[in-house]
């Protein structure tokens, strides 16, 4: 039973990679006091979600969804699903924008309090 379950998981290494990346990102976000390290964790987590979206459309021996001629019969099963990729593009843009804002905030905090360490900043805020 147990071996079957683990065997089943090993059939899908991409999902295991997603779970590991996601949890790793959260772990960094929660345990690190340095603001930039927190951001690295946050970005890792965001990227893992993007990775998950892409991996749902992964297919062996699939091709790009482009019709080469108009007479060809459309066979959906030979194409990789393009929609998650499109979503991913937008999600990457959103992620980059978030990272930009967060780095600007971290920079402003550093200029104001002279430190990136959360405990140090809280101490200086008093």
């Amino acid at each position: 039973m147990m071996f079957e379950l683990i065997g089943g998981w090993l059939q899908r290494p991409n999902y295991i990679a997603f779970v590991l990346l996601f949890l790793w990102g959260i772990y960094i976000m929660v345990t690190r006091y340095n603001l930039v390290k927190k951001l690295i964790g946050m970005y890792l987590m965001q990227t893992s979600v993007i990775f998950f979206l892409v991996t749902t459309s992964a297919k062996r021996d699939a091709t790009v969804p482009i019709l080469l001629s108009t007479t060809e019969i459309i066979q959906p099963e030979v194409y990789a699903n393009p929609l998650p990729h499109v979503l991913t593009l937008t999600a990457i843009v959103v992620g980059v924008a978030t990272l930009g804002v967060s780095l600007a905030l971290a920079d402003a905090i550093y200029k104001k309090y002279g430190s990136l360490d959360e405990e140090e900043i809280l101490k200086r805020m008093e």
């Binding site: 999600a91 978030t98 967060s102 905090i109």
Partner: protein, 489 residues
């Protein structure tokens, strides 16, 4: 023409937000009148769109001419239309208030400031109209990015509060996106109407259950549902006093609206996931939020922080209303949501004006006003009556319909929760009024200062607004009953 009104409503603030950096290079002083003008123009457009929806039924707007399940769709139904009307009205009052001379001069930062505010309004409109889950995510993130930046604008402690808001908000957004991915993997569609067909038969599947759970946790962080509210009090307390009304009254409310959309229009009103009725769970969470938020508000010493916690408890009350599973409760919850947008704006107007006119930040210091502050106190009393729920105001009718719905559902625990939350609200306002009107011990009474015009407009509009909402409650509720009910309720 009517068909295009929702998009025009969105393009008005977005267009100005894009043009403003270009205009602002040369004509910095144009930013304020242009922003107020665009928000004022949105009000008639939103009313026209509402009238169009009433006349011709729900507007489905297909972008680029691609029909719904394949293309991107905006849906303007009764609920969305009345939300956008509330959004434009409250947004107009908020932007008038935040451009007051009361607040420190922004200098060259005035251009990015108004750009962010307009972008925030545009993205909230987009969230209300979005017809598919992924667009909801994009607009959620755009609005959140504007909110992070606006919170951080105050500098100092606000930077740290904004940073924390950003970390938690992004965590919530990632969870939401993950949930959308689960739902897409299971059903193969992102369109809400399409999902509403495909999700109910699959509701027992693990992927749907986990996906919905992720989405609700994500949105719960964005709307500061109680166990997930950690970012809110600091963010609202330290945010610039001119923007906290806008953040408090609009951002969390629209996230809550997104939650309502997903719960009723995608999952269906009576979805049962793993033998747990979703509505029951939401009701428990709402009651918890209503009580915990009000308790925490009672123990605060800072005015803005007290109002922030009060907002948390009202989010809970709205959730209690919509979770009752009958029409009365749902309508009561939605009506209370509209009220809450107005009340939160009014409370934070008052707090911001008091801070900048008299330098009073804590409840302790209120005694130094010697009951003064002119008719600003009258406005506060009116809004507080609505927060507590005293008859001629909108807050009373919201709670009244929620309780009627609870009686109808025979959910007596919900009634108890609403009543205790009401008593606690009364208690924390009593604490505030006791200081404001009865404390005569202060050594140096503060001189009464003239109230700037924008503050008069803001406080006047919100305090009259809650009474108008109360007087009109009959019409609004019957409108909601006729046009804004989710399918199958």
């Amino acid at each position: 023409m009517t068909r295009h009104l929702p998009v025009i409503l969105f393009l008005l603030p977005l267009g100005l937000a894009i043009c403003l950096p270009l205009i602002g290079v040369r004509r910095r002083e144009w930013c304020r009148p242009l922003a107020i003008g665009v928000l004022a123009a949105m009000v008639p457009v939103s009313f026209a769109s509402l009238a169009g929806v009433l006349q011709n039924g729900t507007i489905h707007y297909d972008f680029g001419g691609w029909a719904a399940p394949v293309g991107i769709e905006w849906v303007a139904d009764g609920l969305a239309s009345i939300m956008t009307v509330a959004l434009s009205l409250v947004g107009l009052v908020c932007i008038t208030f935040l451009s007051s001379v009361l607040f420190p001069y922004l200098g060259s930062r005035i251009v990015p400031f108004y750009t962010l505010v307009l972008l925030l309004i545009a993205s909230l409109i987009g969230m209300v109209f979005a017809g598919d889950l992924f667009n909801l995510f994009v607009f959620l993130e755009v609005s959140a990015l504007c909110a992070y930046a606006l919170v951080g604008l105050a500098g100092g402690k606000a930077l740290v509060a904004g940073f924390r808001y950003l970390i938690l908000g992004t965590f919530g957004a990632s969870l939401y996106l993950l949930g959308v991915g689960y739902l897409y993997a299971e059903t193969g569609t992102l369109n809400m109407a399409d999902l509403a067909q495909r999700v109910p038969p699959l509701v027992g599947s693990k992927a749907i259950a986990v996906g919905v759970l992720f989405m609700f946790i994500g949105l719960g962080i964005k709307m500061a549902l109680v166990p997930l509210h950690g970012w809110l009090p600091d963010a609202y307390t330290y945010a610039p006093d001119r923007v906290s009304p806008m953040l408090a009254s609009l951002v969390t409310k629209v996230a809550l609206y997104g939650w309502i959309r997903i719960m009723f229009w995608v999952l269906g009103a009576h979805a049962v996931v793993y033998r747990i009725p979703v509505l029951f769970l939401v009701g428990v969470l709402g009651a918890l939020a209503a009580l915990v938020g009000a308790f925490l508000a009672l123990s605060q010493t800072e005015i803005k922080r007290m109002f922030a916690y009060g907002g948390l408890s009202h989010i809970g009350l709205i959730l209690v209303g919509i979770s009752l599973g009958n029409q009365t409760g749902f309508v009561g919850g939605v009506f209370y949501l509209l009220n809450d947008a107005v009340m939160q704006a009014g409370l934070f107007f008052w707090a911001g004006a008091i801070i900048h006119l008299y330098g009073v930040r804590t409840i302790e210091d209120l005694g130094r006003l010697q009951g003064g502050a002119g008719w600003m106190s009258v406005a506060l009393v009116v809004i507080a009556l609505s927060m507590i729920g005293i008859p001629p105001t909108g807050g009373f009718f919201g709670k009244w319909y929620i309780i009627l719905g609870a009686v109808e559902a025979q959910n007596y625990l919900a009634i108890v929760a609403v009543l205790i939350a009401t008593l606690l609200t009364l208690a924390y306002f009593a604490k505030l009024f006791e200081r404001l009107f009865r404390d005569r011990s202060a050594q140096q009474p503060l001189p009464i200062r003239e109230i700037p015009l924008a503050v008069r407009i803001g406080l006047g509009a919100t305090s009259v607004g809650v009474i108008v909402l109360g007087v009109m409650s009959d019409h609004i509720v019957s409108f909601l009953l006729k046009n804004a009910l989710p399918p199958g309720l």
